[in-house]
């Protein structure tokens, strides 16, 4: 048994339970997907939506968890979002942080990049994470110290390779347009797009910021973006505006695959690379890698972090008490 240091929590048991829950939730998602006239409710605007399926799957997961672990806390996207505050509710207690359906826009359009995302935190850090993408037949899972896995049998990352010495050149850059589409100078949309273009433009372009990344990818699911960072497919994921349930499970899946996660917003002093805060809504993930002939793996990742920070704008997703 794998016990967390201070609390009487059996991580392996929780991990197995989370996998079983994710599989059952995924079955509901597949079964209900054929109903394209989903009863869609708007949240903040016409691209921020929730379906009845989101709510039903969250209720299933919540009930299952609280029956088995009545002393654990539960935070789900749908119950949270229907509340009045935008407070960060994760604390030191054993807490489940769940997105019943990440990629709701994809789901209603039947684009298969959707998943259920189940994270479990202790002391505010994810220690178990399971992400199941039923249309891809892929389940990504990890627990603290147990490694990161695809379909429970294939260890991640898929291959052990160094990061490019010329990064971001040679890297796949994953990013999302998101739901914040305000059009005014220095809006988040404008600053995001300026950052994307810096990463994509030719070397020498954009006043020296051109990154000439190998490819720019946008899938519409933060959870799956993180899974593809864990496999090694995406070298860099830079995103802001999503929430803790979008990234909670993905954090540990990336970390156990050797990845690094920090803040999307370049800090004034880039000497120190701070760990990402789960509730910061500002994330930058770099895939796991091997040492190269010039530097150890972590130094490579930190180099790539700084190369990204040099090319991206600070975004406005301040959240009281978090950042």
């Amino acid at each position: 048994m794998v016990h967390s240091e201070k609390l009487d929590v059996d991580l392996k048991e929780i991990y197995d339970f989370a996998i079983s829950l994710a599989k059952q939730a995924g079955e509901i998602l597949v079964k209900e997907s054929s109903n394209r006239n989903h009863n869609i409710k708007l949240k903040k605007n016409t691209v921020d939506i929730v379906t009845e399926t989101d709510e039903r799957v969250e209720q299933f997961i919540k009930t299952s968890i609280l029956s088995k672990y009545p002393n654990h806390k539960f935070i789900g996207e749908e119950t949270y979002s229907s509340g009045q505050t935008r407070d960060y509710l994760v604390d030191d207690s054993p807490t489940w942080v769940v997105d019943p359906l990440d990629g709701t826009v994809n789901y209603v359009h039947l684009f298969p990049m959707i998943c259920v995302s189940i994270g479990f935190t202790i002391n505010g850090k994810t220690v178990v994470g399971v992400i199941y993408a039923p249309f891809l037949n892929q389940i990504y899972s990890a627990y603290k110290g147990g490694g990161s896995w695809l379909n429970e049998t294939t260890k991640l990352p898929l291959q052990e390779t160094p990061l490019s010495q010329e990064a971001p050149k040679g890297c796949i850059f994953s990013c999302e347009w998101g739901k914040d589409r305000k059009d005014y100078p220095d809006s988040n949309l404008h600053k995001k797009v300026e950052s994307f273009v810096n990463m994509a433009a030719e070397i020498g372009g954009r006043d020296g910021k051109g990154g000439m990344v190998h490819g720019v990818r946008s899938l519409g699911s933060a959870s799956l973006d993180l899974c593809f960072v864990a496999t090694g497919a995406f070298d860099i994921w830079w995103e802001a505006g999503c929430w803790e349930w979008d990234v909670c499970a993905g954090f540990i899946i990336v970390e156990e695959a050797g990845g690094l996660i920090t803040t999307a917003n370049p800090p004034p002093n880039t000497e120190v690379i701070p760990p990402a805060h789960l509730g910061s809504r500002l994330y930058l993930a770099i895939r796991g890698c091997t040492d190269n002939e010039h530097e150890p793996a972590q130094k490579s990742q930190e180099r790539v972090v700084r190369e990204v920070w040099r090319r991206v704008r600070q975004l406005n997703y301040n959240r009281p008490g978090v950042n």
Copy 2:
């Protein structure tokens, strides 16, 4: 037997043969994918690459086709690209137009959005198309008059729904950053991104051009983009810069699923919606849809075409003799 009108060509036989070829080619792609240190050659720049696998799979497909149909013409991405001209080589004769590996950047990074794309044209029009994405376990196929299919059993589109009356609002917009990353005013990169932002920005933004699309997606494979137009997942695909082998099979898969394909570049007179030219490098695809209470299906598609044209810039991919 389904014979083309003028030539003694059995489309169903060619279709079945193309499916069998695609499956065999996909097996090679999967088998060789684990070798991450692909022998990569640069074509035009550091994001325009070809692997030895591309070349091996193309050779396999070409040899198989010319053994069975010695009188047919073969155009493959790799043999074409290594040639000296950029001429458009598709003519009226029975011609196979093949991309052995669409999504080469994805392939070398082990991102599963890759496929083999096999098209067959007569009189310059695609009449058979097969796209196999082995990591997704999805095969998309169609022949003229035979409908469009997922995994040979599920008819496309997946659901019969109208296009949004407020389109592009409510639509998933698929686009690609591509390989052309030049950074100067009115470069293709700049004009592409300006167009993307118009499609994404809030209604009322961008001097009235804000389209508030439901989502912006970039997968890195034109062939698969077209497959997701055929399923109905992507309402709109707007792309320029790719070549006939990237879209040849996708054309018939979209058309047989009720989709419409025209040019990416807004013409001076938007009254008439011209069919896309296979070799134009400028494409706009709209998914199949049902009539709505205001207009028949084709009118809805044409309305969406004009709504896109109103928001996008003319791109520079002129090709002598084609556009």
